[in-house]
Symmetry: D2
Subunit: 290 residues, 4 copies
């Protein structure tokens, strides 16, 4: 079943009667076989959020016409909807700095086919350190040195590279630079999604050196958070979080070491869910259809 092409429709809109019925009847009446469906009614805010996935094989509407027909179906609901064919590759760029654990982990998972239909097109870094390790994976590694003076130019270069590679998703895999508002806005306006891993259990320890903050505060558990990037630092919709227990015997270095395992897993889970089109955002939150 995994190998067959599927179509996934995601819809967020004001809640009203008949949405599930209309969506599922559209598929059924056109010969479609649903393989997965998940719906959520947010009664507090009056939203419907749904995801429905069906086999392309046997569906009577031609592939090239599906988008238009779905548009006719969904437009009346005054929400936002997206449509995804599982055989369409999703172009991913990874941005990193000096730390290798997240970027190597993602490259390994991509080889292991854990990241859906991802196509990791390019790795960007503001440091040259990881070049040789990444070269083993045969993916272009572009090093753009950055300092306070050239940051605007570098960001312009980054925007252009994302356009050149036609990137869908940018993963900040321990990219230790704060993105300017202009950079975030331009990437988003270009239709690109940006996912970041923050090395704390947000909203605790926003900003720099969260493990040092956690150690000083004496918490008994540390965490990591993967979130979509919006202009406000560390405040975008959270996709996934996880935690690990620590004790007084753990130094800051131990927190960093334990945290690396968290960061890898949380980022990979979040990216996978996004690449499988299982994440919807609304009201600065996410619905994750696991």
């Amino acid at each position: 079943m995994d190998k067959k092409t599927t179509v996934a429709l995601l819809l967020v809109c004001p809640d009203t009667n008949g949405i599930v019925s209309n969506l599922s009847s559209f598929i059924y009446n056109n010969g479609g076989c649903i393989v997965d469906s998940d719906f959520h009614n947010d009664h507090q805010h009056g939203f419907f959020l749904g995801r429905i996935e069906w086999l392309l094989e046997g569906f009577k509407i031609k592939r090239e016409d599906i988008k238009e027909r779905v548009s006719e179906l969904c437009t009346p609901y005054n929400g936002k909807w997206t449509l995804h064919f599982s055989d369409t590759p999703i172009k991913v760029a990874i941005w990193c700095s000096k730390q290798d654990h997240c970027v190597l982990d993602l490259l390994w998972r991509n080889q292991a086919k854990e990241l859906g239909n991802a196509e990791i097109s390019v790795i960007l870094s503001n440091h040259p350190d990881l070049k040789s390790k990444i070269d083993n994976f045969g993916i272009p590694f572009i090093h753009i040195p950055m300092n306070k003076e050239n940051k605007p130019e570098v960001e312009q270069k980054q925007i252009e590279l994302m356009r050149e590679y036609n990137i869908d998703v940018i993963v900040l895999a321990k990219y230790m630079q704060i993105l300017s508002d202009n950079l975030v806005d331009t990437l988003n306006n270009d239709g690109r999604t940006v996912i970041n891993i923050h090395h704390s259990f947000l909203p605790a320890f926003i900003g720099a050196k969260p493990y040092h903050q956690a150690h000083k505060r004496g918490v008994k558990i540390i965490g990591a958070t993967a979130h979509f990037v919006t202009a406000q630092l560390d405040a975008g919709p959270i996709i996934e979080q996880d935690v690990v227990r620590i004790s007084h015997r753990d130094t800051v270095n131990d927190l960093v070491r334990k945290g690396k395992d968290l960061e890898k897993i949380v980022l990979a889970r979040a990216l996978r869910l996004h690449l499988l089109h299982k994440v919807l955002t609304y009201e600065n939150k996410t619905v994750v259809f696991e």
Copy 2:
């Protein structure tokens, strides 16, 4: 929204096209407002499993006719289905022995309205120890002493009491007697559900004294398991499990103490999910629509 009466339909059947469409259209076409829906397609075994819940208010089919109309809708799918009105109380009996933590916890949760529409009708015990504590809750406590000789008579008495109180769900809250096959079969044939809490992470440490077994084996994590009771000991469909970390410093008594917290929470979660009609069973497994 919580207070309004809802109707929940659960269906397990061989998978085929159009089920979601038919179920949701039935509700929509009769003016129903879906408040929650969740579907699962088990591609390995070819099963469809679904739960759909809608407001009774505004639904055009009269309450007394809904069951028949749903029967017409679902019978063709050759599966099993159940229908539940949220304002119908569910009669619960709790069976216990000497340990108080699970039964007191359930009584407390019932007062706190955490157990859906449960009506705890009677407490049975083979020991008198907990009588005074349970009397505080104003629920009948029936003590039936049991020994090797009178076990068949006691079980017959238990069957009759369940009939007398018209019990829907029996909770074995640390009831430290093994139910005979005849008892299990009769309760099930009478249409009653039996839920047990086992004090291990099943299938590890089946049978007696699991904490002693765990301590001897030197595991680093212990667990608890809530499951439906079938004739085979500790082998029924698992509803919920949870675990807690232990270390070499923990004695068997520490395991027992830590385990009690697990047992309470796991049993309460499982019972709550069942009372909210969120659990489906098939192939000796459960689907839990959380």
Copy 3:
């Protein structure tokens, strides 16, 4: 072994050579049998933190002389030390408001002998709601109504009651009032320890309505934190924390419900560790010798 009286010595001091040797030789040379010992060297701050527990039986120094002899032993280390006999009851007061789950849980655990040698002497509340439930346990319940105007008088009354009952440990079991700086200082100066349960994973969501904050922020995990109370709100040394996973399906009410289980367990664990003299504080953090 559990039943025999033990002596526990806790010491925090600047680290230097020979401390473990001197402490353990003092016990050995006086015929003592160590039943538990745990030491920690904080190399970052240059502290030694230790706990050593031995049997009173067989120890050649008379019970009434032990304190003086330990003082001679420990004073040269220029730190702080405390000495505890396991058969000395620890007088506990629980302060609560309207919510019953934490206070009832502690009373139940006390009956089950899970709280070491605690003697729960009195329950204080600013609301009358829980009186009848607590009366079942035969512990005095004192209701002192509080409003903006009478807060200083009420706090003075609270201080006096704690003196009258000679309380060692005050547990804020969902006591929904902020303690004034004067109250905290006076209780601490009187030699009383105050432990609070905060319904979030501190330092996330400090202050009021943390579950509402968590729901709005869209976190995927919620937590609870037990900490010693100092004058600064929610900023005292953390004793214990735990977390539970949530999803988009959970409303604020679900967070409250799931959180209650966390709050009970985290508070009970923290109190138990404190009552067993397993918690040391320094640098606004705790060392927990589990």
Copy 4:
């Protein structure tokens, strides 16, 4: 502090008075500075288990004489003891088959200096698949094809290679062959430790295809277990375990994918603890001084 050479002494013996005093006085009286110490008294079985670590710098006994002096100190206790200098490399061999996740993870952690003073000397595999990936790390990869007929010869070859490379620790990193009793005994008699990762929460799902077993049984949580290898399959002392939650939506493939993350982390934690000399075994269990 991390960089300075330390000496670690581990002792298991029948419990008696004065052990901590004698050990710590030996160090203190010879000018040693303790950096870490942890003791455990198993009252059930009457064992003392301890670990004490001190700086070599400043210790007045010459490095080459320490072992003899410690022998004089510990022999009277009639237990077993080991002595470890932190600057002595520990020679590690990794055995694997076709799956790359555990072996690559260990190689990456070794580069990141997470595995103490490990020196990964050789990788053995019964399949050639991973050669090119491992070649990137510059470690010898030896492929020895195995089938039913040549298993005894291959095992003899494995024994010889371990001798040739003078290996201290063998890590079975998803090595999908059962070791014969003779192989296990010979490796152990040669003084080598063998650590295995089993892809279940032992003792649940011993043997082959644990993820299939777990899926069929319908458990809600899966686990992984790292243990020392003894002649009896999957029954050696457990060093570390961890778990992850699953749901009815997870197929066997999902369990395998989620399990891989568990396996990597659990194996790495266990190996790290062993390489830092923090694990003691007795009574087929471990004491882990974390």
